[in-house]
């Protein structure tokens, strides 16, 4: 963003910093989570029991409806034409031939598109969802190579696709900055992330590094990545009686509805976004131009429109993860105590988004060191805005940090696990906050035992099996606990003992619907079948992002708030004739289809009895949790100990991952079955990050040159060994249900564990991802 935006963020940041000081010093009991969630002590209920997905039968039968599968009367199809220059103007736009092609209803361009306001960019206000702040098809200017310049609307997809090829565009190109080198030459600025500069200093790290007996100092680089959810981004939209209805694949339905309302200049409640199933998100299923263009096209032709991006379109329209150049320097004394940590580097973004890849985040709370210097410099390119992709920051930041730890261990001739344990901090090393719950050492010990770490040969290149060199490596995984403001939930309880929980949350495969049915059932004291969990609809309460691994905390805190309101209401209805008479809401909880006194379960009354006596069919409450102050009062982080065994072909350099174990400390695990899948899924994306994934960006033209699943490689079955996952299951006393998020941590640490194993196998240190065979030959 501009300097003005930065300043605005800085001012907000300063206010936040002042506030967080006060919150840090406040007594625990004033803070959400200061009194542990009573569910944490429930040990034999639904929580913790491996539970099969409730939407499983629909999904395996192909009967779960995804966004591009909602039928609509009179629906027509759209296809996009994209720019082929990175910056400049459209000087000629010939749509006549396309308009005359069979089946074509209209061709929308900047000349005839409905007038729209620019999207408020994500993080610019609480409900903003825009991937960037650029106007959508409103003028002749071009901002990136691949920006949509025309939308063809036709009776069939085939007709639309053909007519799109007939749109003729002439451009006047302007000089564009499309190479990192050129952008760096123009200067960089300290990156701003969520209102704060990505810069931390504790002591004089440069001096401490120079004075250290042992040190390592190296540069690491990571390429661009794309989310590549298998479901293509698609929408089915219609304007019905002034209401814009969007069937979308979205991980922020409420944000999206608000943002589209701003753009179209209509009331927020005139936009309804539903998204019952999302075919993979990973940060990529947010608001980009396609939803806006489909809605505008639908308004223009007065018909429902379906727009499904081609795989190439996804690369052109939906931002991915930016590349990074990082330096990590570590200084230590001869017995391995770290004295200096420096982690700094540069990453590109655009002038229109607020998302620098924050690769220093994992280093902030990682290791005890008297001196720390962290810094991210952002440069601006003329490209599609980058965005968050699974564990933004931590995924690529841990590659550099945890590779450097391995290099230091090697130099010290020390076991890399012992080095990490020796540098365990007692409090957060950068902000001084106490940890809410940190059991990484237990995770390391349990993991090492299970993986058979003691069999590892410290000297590299010494284990050989025929033509294969075999090695083991490890790394720390880490991801913070987040909870964003804006949560809210509604609970409706009927006299028959059925509860409906409504919240505008999302199911992208994480198991949200299943897990939160379990949690709500447990909280209410109901069987699973007696709870319905509604989500994926912007008309439901709450502004909940499925991102930052915060959705479980956000839903959890919202349902706690709604449940408290429900209990209060039920006690009021129960009145003086109830065994519960005179009890306070905090003293009772749900059990056995009713309420009981927590420390004297004999004092009990069923929901049926309470509502029956009050002559009520049902009771309905809605509530919001208090602001997420717990994250400013404690340092809250999940961790994992990652173990990898690789086999590297001595002749070709081919790398095969033969074994992998993740040993996690993420608080309480709510549903072991779906949690295991989340951990594995993250680790597998981490294997892709380590060994094959790379979005190739032509620095001359600013164009992505491998926009397909045949040229952007993701791990396939043959690349994936059996992945072992274990966890401490130690509840975090300050998190709802004792659980911290689990969706992103698996991708962190994984690439370093692979790289460190490759070093152990071959003696070659690859500091530039992905680790392809040419780098090992």
């Amino acid at each position: 963003m501009s300097i003005i935006e930065d300043t605005k963020q800085l001012v907000q940041g300063a206010v936040m910093a002042g506030m967080s000081k006060a919150i840090a010093l406040a007594p625990d009991r004033w803070i959400p989570g200061g009194t542990p969630d009573p569910l944490i002590s429930h040990r034999h209920g639904h929580i913790g029991r491996p539970t099969t997905r409730i939407d499983g039968p629909l999904k395996v039968a192909g009967a779960a409806p995804f966004a591009a599968e909602f039928p609509m009367e009179g629906m027509v199809y759209a296809a996009l034409a994209n720019s082929t220059i990175a910056k400049g103007r459209i000087v000629e736009l010939d749509t006549r031939t396309a308009e005359e092609a069979p089946g074509v209803i209209a061709v929308m361009t900047h000349r005839n598109a409905p007038r729209l306001s620019p999207p408020p960019a994500f993080m610019s206000s609480p409900k903003a969802a825009g991937g960037d702040s650029l106007p959508v098809m409103q003028d002749a200017s071009i901002h990136w190579n691949g920006e949509p310049v025309a939308v063809v609307i036709a009776q069939t997809q085939e007709q639309a696709n053909h007519a799109r090829s007939l749109v003729r565009v002439t451009y006047e190109a302007e000089p564009a900055i499309t190479s990192l080198g050129a952008a760096k030459a123009r200067g960089s600025r300290t990156a701003m992330f969520m209102g704060q500069p990505l810069h931390d200093e504790v002591g004089d790290a440069d001096a401490a590094l120079a004075a250290s007996a042992v040190n390592v100092d190296a540069s690491y680089s990571t390429p661009r990545h794309n989310h590549n959810a298998i479901e293509l981004h698609g929408v089915t939209v219609a304007w019905q009686d002034g209401v814009l209805r969007i069937h979308d694949a979205s991980q922020l339905v409420a944000h999206e509805a608000w943002t589209l309302a701003q753009m179209f200049g209509i009331d927020e409640d005139k936009v309804v976004v539903t998204s019952p199933f999302v075919g993979g998100g990973f940060g990529g299923k947010c608001l980009w131009q396609h939803q806006v263009l489909a809605a505008a096209a639908s308004r223009m032709v007065g018909r429902p429109v379906r727009l499904v991006l081609s795989r190439e379109d996804v690369y052109r329209l939906v931002g991915g993860r930016s590349n990074t150049e990082q330096r990590v320097a570590l200084g230590a004394d001869p017995d391995g105590r770290i004295k200096a940590i420096i982690h700094e580097g540069v990453t590109p973004k655009t002038a229109f988004n607020a998302m620098p890849e924050p690769f220093i985040l994992p280093t902030r709370s990682a290791y005890a060191s008297e001196t720390i210097k962290l810094d991210v410099q952002a440069v601006e390119l003329d490209m599609l805005s980058n965005t968050f992709m699974r564990a933004p920051g931590e995924s690529v930041g841990t590659f550099a940090l945890e590779s450097a730890l391995d290099e230091l261990a090697h130099k010290l001739d020390m076991d890399p696990i012992e080095l990490r344990i020796r540098n365990e901090p007692e409090k957060d090393p950068t902000n001084g906050l106490p940890f809410s719950s940190r059991h990484i050492v237990e995770a390391w010990r349990a993991g090492a035992e299970r993986f058979g770490w003691s069999a590892r040969k410290p000297a590299s290149g010494t284990v050989r099996d025929g033509e294969w060199l075999v090695g083991m490596g490890c790394a720390t995984a880490t991801y913070p606990y987040y909870r964003m403001p804006g949560g809210a939930a509604r609970i409706t309880l009927t006299r028959e003992g059925h509860a409906t929980v409504d919240i505008a949350a999302h199911e992208m495969g994480m198991g949200t619907a299943t897990t939160h049915t379990m949690v709500a059932a447990e909280r209410l004291g109901l069987p699973l079948e007696a709870v319905t969990f509604n989500y994926g609809d912007s008309t439901l309460p709450g502004v909940v992002l499925a991102g930052g691994s915060q959705q479980t905390a956000s839903i959890g805190a919202s349902v706690i708030a709604a449940h408290r309101a429900l209990v209060k209401e039920l006690l009021k209805l129960a009145g003086n004739d109830s065994p519960l008479a005179g009890l306070k809401p905090d003293e009772v909880g749900g059990t056995d289809c009713g309420l009981c006194k927590l420390d004297d379960p004999a004092l009990y009354e069923s929901y049926a009895s309470i509502l029956g006596r009050a002559q009520r069919v049902s009771v309905c409450v809605e509530a919001s949790p208090s602001a997420p102050m717990e994250i400013m009062h404690w340092s809250m982080h999940s961790h994992g100990a990652m173990f990898c065994e690789v086999r590297v072909h001595a002749v070709t350099g081919e790398v095969r991952v033969s074994r992998f174990l993740g040993s996690f400390d993420c608080g309480r695990i709510l549903n072991p079955k779906t949690a295991g899948s989340q951990f594995r899924g993250g680790i597998i994306m981490g294997l892709g990050l380590a060994l094959m994934e790379e979005t190739r960006f032509d620095e001359r033209s600013g164009r992505i040159v491998n926009p397909s699943l045949s040229e952007y490689h993701v791990p396939v079955h043959m690349d994936v060994p059996e992945i072992d996952v274990i966890w401490t299951d130690i509840p975090d006393p300050h998190a709802p249900m004792g659980a911290r998020g689990i969706g992103e941590i698996g991708i962190t640490g994984t690439a370093a564990a692979v790289a460190n194993a490759v070093f152990n196998a071959t003696g070659k240190r690859v500091r530039d991802l992905p680790i392809t065979l040419d780098k090992l030959m």
Binding site: F66, A229, V308, S677, L709, H717
Partner: protein, 168 residues
Amino acid sequence: MTISVNGVEAMLPSDPRVSLLDLLREQLGLSGTKKGCDQGACGACTVLVDGERILSCLALAVQYDGRSVTTIEGLGTAECPHPLQSAFIAHDGFQCGYCTPGQICSAMGMIEEVRRGTPSHVTSDITAEVIPFSRDEVRERMSGNLCRCGAHNGIVDAIATLLPEAAE
């Protein structure tokens, strides 16, 4: 010109550009077959034609005159699933579920290929009459079906339940 889809006769489209995938999804309302790339790179669109697995996005519908197609909807339903569908649920062989119909149809075709003795890249003896199933055979032969959610372990476990011989 007609095609049989899950035992029901359907008209072939008049537009020869329509892929078998789009015929199923857009014209016949059978959206269980998924589109992940439309260019043969992901396997989400896998269906069975006369028992063999094909990528329906790379097939023009009109080429399938008189042929018999089985899609995920023809294999089983949510209420009455095929054993392989049940095994996917039991082993959590999916997360978002988008690649799942393709994985299941592909597995059905794959099992028959092995039983017919068609070797793969990991088959140690390509002249053998009978190819022993192993997890590696399954992994290799399923590698054309991408899963970005990373449900690979569960998928192989689910398929292995149909193959007592693959239990290692």
